[in-house]
């Protein structure tokens, strides 16, 4: 999570106090990511150390201390905004693992496993969607966060649908030989070389 940069963005609007930053962070992110005061001051301390923010006075952290962004902080914020997050290597996804395992453990009905996960995901999506009926109607930040969460969960359910269909097809043609690595310069191993994150 990019709390430091979010705080920098809040400071870019003008000098602010620690408690104020915490409140504005939570309100500005749809109140979905709670942040405690300790985290705020720790992060501000790091921003100060790196010269991205500065405070008036040398006293201890507390409600009297006001922070402002430095020119270097502004540069860092602008650069961060335009730097894509690292999505190159596939994460070692737990759900993907479970389905891979379900497909090969004897006596396991992979479709049943998939259905259990699909049901859980859709229930979670129903819960998020209820925010759209209420709170998210008047809270743009929350609406954006809810959308992001729904698209993420939706992508997982779609992957489950695809997995379900693939497994069904594979079961219908069981005599197909195990895949043999294709000869010649097929660029498939490219992905492998990237390695998995985490």
């Amino acid at each position: 999570m990019s709390v430091p940069h979010f705080l920098l963005a809040l400071l870019a609007e003008g000098p602010k106090y620690g408690l104020q930053l915490r409140e504005e962070f939570e309100a500005g992110s749809g109140e979905v990511w709670p942040l405690n005061v300790g985290q705020v001051y720790k992060t501000l301390g790091r921003l100060e150390r790196d010269g991205l923010a500065e405070s008036d006075g040398t006293g201890p952290d507390g409600p009297q201390k006001r922070f402002r962004i430095t020119p270097r902080g502004e540069e860092a914020l602008a650069a961060w905004l335009r730097t894509p997050p690292d999505l190159t290597s596939p994460p070692r996804d737990e759900l993907v693992m479970k389905v891979l395992v379900a497909a090969r453990v004897p006596g396991t009905d992979a479709h049943e496993v998939i259905q259990a996960h699909r049901m859980y995901l859709v229930e979670l999506m129903q819960q998020w969607t209820r925010l759209k009926e209420g709170e998210a109607r008047d809270d743009l930040a929350l609406a954006l966060v809810v959308d992001a969460e729904l698209f993420r969960l939706d992508a997982v359910t779609r992957w489950l649908d695809a997995a379900d269909t693939r497994l069904k097809r594979a079961a219908a043609e069981p005599s197909r030989p195990a895949p043999v690595p294709a000869p010649g310069p097929v660029p498939v191993p490219q992905l492998r070389r990237l390695g998995a994150r985490r």
Partner: protein, 254 residues
């Protein structure tokens, strides 16, 4: 569970608006028969929005056409507002279709030669309601969907989102109790699709029962209950989930 404010509301909640009991549908002759539906039970109460999800060929569209009395089941019973469709005289069934059931299709199906209000009023006019009265009801339905100011426009003068609102107005015009929708957001983008689901949801809050068939989990997530179909059978269904408060409780997420 129905939504707040409608729970246990007298007679309307007591009777299911739609009830399928052991509904099966088989196409073709032995040995090449296809079992589109196999023993499906489904009950939808007034005020309830139910989504039916499933892959292509899972039987979800068949379920909808049977629920809408457009097709007959091979076996099993279909009851609309407590009335069994089996053995119902053709005329009565047609009347039920025109008065009680509203349909929303993927591609909106508005008649291009009619204005928005004429489209919305069409089911009533077909049912023999006098034109001024039907138009007034059509306008009221457009009003409820926020497109009353488009009443005089033809479908090709409307945006995609407006066309779909008119289609929903036509589906709920008059005193319709059951709304059946097949991929109701069509080719709309996700924000407009959201709006369609919000409107169906609001129609349910006014007491309509709705069944939405979709393969889109984001649409289905608007429902009170999601029923999963696989190979013509119900493979599971969600219950109404707890409120979203838990999602926002500090410390709950990450």
């Amino acid at each position: 569970m129905s939504r707040p404010g409608l729970g246990g509301e007298g007679a309307s909640a007591a009777v299911s608006v739609l009830e399928l009991r052991g509904v099966s549908k088989t196409y073709g002759q032995e040995p090449a028969t296809v079992h589109a539906l196999a023993g499906v039970d489904l009950s939808v109460r007034a005020g309830e929005l139910v989504a039916v999800m499933g892959p292509s060929g899972s039987g979800k569209s068949t379920l909808l056409t049977i629920a809408g009395s457009l097709e007959e089941p091979t076996s099993g019973d279909v009851l609309v507002c407590g009335m069994a469709l089996a053995g119902m005289p053709r005329g009565r069934k047609a009347r039920l279709r025109r008065r009680v059931i509203g349909y929303v299709f993927q591609d909106f199906n508005l008649l291009p030669g009619l204005t928005a209000v004429e489209n919305a009023a069409l089911p009533l006019e077909l049912d023999g309601v006098a034109v001024p009265k039907a138009r007034a009801a059509g306008l009221a339905a457009l009003e409820a969907l926020g497109v009353a100011d488009r009443a005089g426009r033809f479908p090709d003068q409307l945006s995609g989102g407006e066309r779909q609102r008119v289609a929903i107005a036509r589906a709920v015009v008059g005193d319709r109790r059951l709304l059946l929708a097949d991929e109701p957001s069509g080719a709309l983008d996700s924000v407009n699709a959201d709006e369609v689901m919000r409107l169906l949801h609001e129609a349910c809050a006014r007491g309509v029962a709705a069944v939405v068939v979709t393969h889109d989990a984001q649409l289905a997530a608007w429902a009170d209950r999601v029923v999963f179909l696989r190979d013509g059978r119900v493979s599971g269904q969600t219950t109404r989930p707890p409120g979203p408060e838990s999602l926002l409780t500090p410390g709950k997420i990450r």
